[in-house]
């Protein structure tokens, strides 16, 4: 794929300042782009790179005024970051077309219908009674258990595993190594100290437009379903325990975990390595700082942090005070001496 600066400017409704015939082949960050790469300048923090960049061309805002001479070609647009994202989506659509058809050897149980625009990669397994909608892409070595249903255009990347009976919506992306529907961690303690397994008879239900990161695990419910709402995005290595319900458009960063039966609202933003206790409720639009531990039900709109988590500002203030705690001990010791006098 190759476009000239002029062609790119036309696609974006922008204008070229410099060489209009320069051929560009890829995208890169401003500090590491080469002469055949397009880059962008959006954050003023990176502006100093503009004067030394090796990039063929740089997307800048219409009103951007350089402070020094610029040797690279500029493409001026309304919003450089949005323009870049638009170009990246176009490039992605051109470059990363998913395959169609059934690669051999793969395993598709008798009676399962696979539409011609689907892909089933080599060594993929589709169990009996699975329902695979049109446009679904099942990459090599993925596992779709018996009775699983997968909505239209969903992509299952290599080696993802979906246990029996789970339901995945349309336009979802399940990354490599994700495990959907393994048994919830449910055991009844016996008088002799052993544990007996409580069967996990429920399923996992994932709504449309959900993305699930690599090696993330979402356990099936004891009864009913563990659910992930429409448009929610989960990063890599996340744990979602049995019976959890997550709302819509909630984003959750890597290595966070939600314990059993917790309910998470919609439009939350949850940092990395957060732990959420079982059986509590997190409201809508709650923001949780990285590495926090949430032990209690939290109302809508809160921004919380810490272990145990409290209001984020208060936590930051407390942390600053804790860093001065030795000073406080000394001041108290001094006071005690003075008071004795």
């Amino acid at each position: 794929m190759e476009f000239s600066t002029k062609q790119i400017a036309e696609m974006l409704g922008g204008s070229v300042e410099g060489n209009p015939d320069l051929k560009l082949k890829n995208f890169n960050k401003i500090e590491s782009a080469g002469p055949d790469a397009l880059t962008f300048l959006s954050n003023p923090k990176y502006a100093h790179f503009l004067y030394s960049t090796q990039a063929g061309a740089v997307l800048v805002a219409n009103d951007f005024v350089p402070e020094h001479e610029v040797s690279t070609t500029l493409i001026r647009v309304e919003n450089p970051y949005a323009a870049l994202a638009q170009l990246m989506r176009m490039a992605d659509a051109l470059l990363n077309t998913h395959p169609c058809g059934i690669e051999q050897p793969s395993f598709i149980a008798e009676g399962v219908e696979i539409a011609p625009d689907c892909y089933v990669g080599a060594f993929a397994y589709v169990g009996p009674g699975a329902h695979i909608a049109p446009g679904v892409k099942i990459y090599p070595q993925a596992y779709v258990g018996r009775g699983v249903s997968i909505g239209a255009n969903t992509i299952i990347y290599p080696g993802a595993k979906i246990y029996h009976g789970c339901r995945i919506g349309a336009n979802c992306i399940i990354h490599a190594g994700a495990v959907i529907g393994a048994d919830g961690f449910g055991f009844a303690p016996e008088p002799d100290g052993t544990y007996s397994k409580i069967p996990q008879l429920g399923i996992v239900e994932i709504a449309d437009n959900v993305e699930i990161g690599a090696n993330t695990t979402i356990d099936r419910a004891t009864m009913g379903h563990t659910s992930v709402g429409k448009g929610t995005k989960l990063d890599n290595l996340i744990q979602v325990a049995h019976n959890v319900e997550i709302g819509q458009n909630t984003v959750m960063a890597s290595q966070s975990g939600i314990a059993g039966s917790a309910k998470i609202g919609s439009n939350c933003m949850i940092g990395g390595q957060v732990g959420i206790a079982g059986h509590i409720t997190i409201g809508n639009k709650v923001n949780i700082g990285a590495q926090s531990g949430i032990h209690a039900t939290t109302p809508d709109g809160q921004t919380i942090m810490g272990y145990p988590a409290i209001n984020a500002r208060q936590w930051m203030r407390n942390s600053a005070y804790v860093n001065r705690i030795s000073e406080l001990f000394q001041r108290v010791t001094t006071l005690e001496k003075n008071c004795k006098k």
Copy 2:
């Protein structure tokens, strides 16, 4: 599968209050059960759902007295939760029968014997010299390395990987994506700043009745074995480093990690996202709160929490005081002013 309320009451030695001929098809939580579902009421916290539930029938205790009129059918039993677990085990045995036989294509090394009641799924790999006991179920895409032994009736779910030489007991469950026996993280620093690998020649040894969660990793020992004792249950995404020894009937929640050569006792309860340092010993019946960091050997029977972990009550008290630390700074400042007078 379908049973009447009367049939269920008979199975459980209970009695029906309401419609004895109602057909029930599944289980669900009291707040989301539909007219063909059986649910239960055990925790009084959920009692208010009884008066609005759509469930066909509800298991309640013999001595339960409703506060309002109830429109659903009740099945009275001694212990509703235990009765439900009993029914769920029966349903599980009926519904979730594991397959038998060898699916093609799979890879079974020459000379490995597979009993007729075993299952080897498509794309599963069983290496040379592996010993597979009767009743073992090896799901699709699982990997059983050379010389691995697996005890009777153990289930290896899709895509679990067991490296060469490891030993798994009987009646174990290894969930999808778990990795048993990868190399321990052992490197010797060289004078030039590089690291040279120390071969990890030991194995992992897992006793009977152990359950290992999805994407959990248990590394092989440098020498000898990393071991997990009988009846121990590990949740998803747990890390067990090389040379670790875990006792019997210990339960460990998701995303916790145990560093190299630590010893964990029996009958411990370890919360999620806990970190346990290397080369320390945790006694028997130790309870560890979620997200704690354990840096020191801990005697039997302790309940600990925090980072670094201390007695759980003391930690909770300290946390409450830390939340008031700005107040303390102010009080000291006031005292300093007053003392100067």
Copy 3:
């Protein structure tokens, strides 16, 4: 494999004290070794085991003086631990030879060349345009996407997944279940509360001599590459987000995570369960204690710890003071009473 104590002493340039004809078959820890095992004594903490060990022979330092009578055979060498590591490498080379050849069924795209000393296991997938150098070992069920390049003698263990276009150096080890090159977690918030995916068009680039632990995930860059420098060793279940750059010879323990666009220096030592925030820079030779949370750029050579991380000694001092915080509250209350008088 079997060697006599005399043969072992000759290989190591050491001397036998005891039975020179004893046959040894394996290695083990001093406390659990049996009569056909060789063990070592390096750490004086373990010296008391020498008098009760069942080991056939024990490597000890030339200048070691036993305090009691010893019934086992001693092999005296300059440095027992280094001698053991040398023997283990020899044993590893003898015992753990990797297979050669192409097992069937496997999937190798047309036009991909596989040298005779390579191994491609059953159910492994090698996509179109992949470049596989001589000596590469691709274990069963591993996935090598289109256009991936893998350097000489690199080992890809069972079920590891490498997405399209990523580049892996020579002499690397990628453990089971690791996912290299899944999409970075990049989404643009839309006015209606939904998120639109930002295509991740970059790759992951891993230099030579890198080891990647089981189920670790390294995301592809938005543009350009996420990179891991020469000789760096990552343990299991680690998250490396998009656009991260890690230097050379850095070691990172299990379950740590690095958020997007962070830069990590060379020769760092990072403990387990550490979280590193996005867009910050960690210098060279930085040591980070387990479970720390790093929120800020950190210069070369620091040793830091805590959440948020500070100088490790200061953090330990603060933690000790926090454990006495209730005492401080009481002292201040006492002062307030006394001052009022």
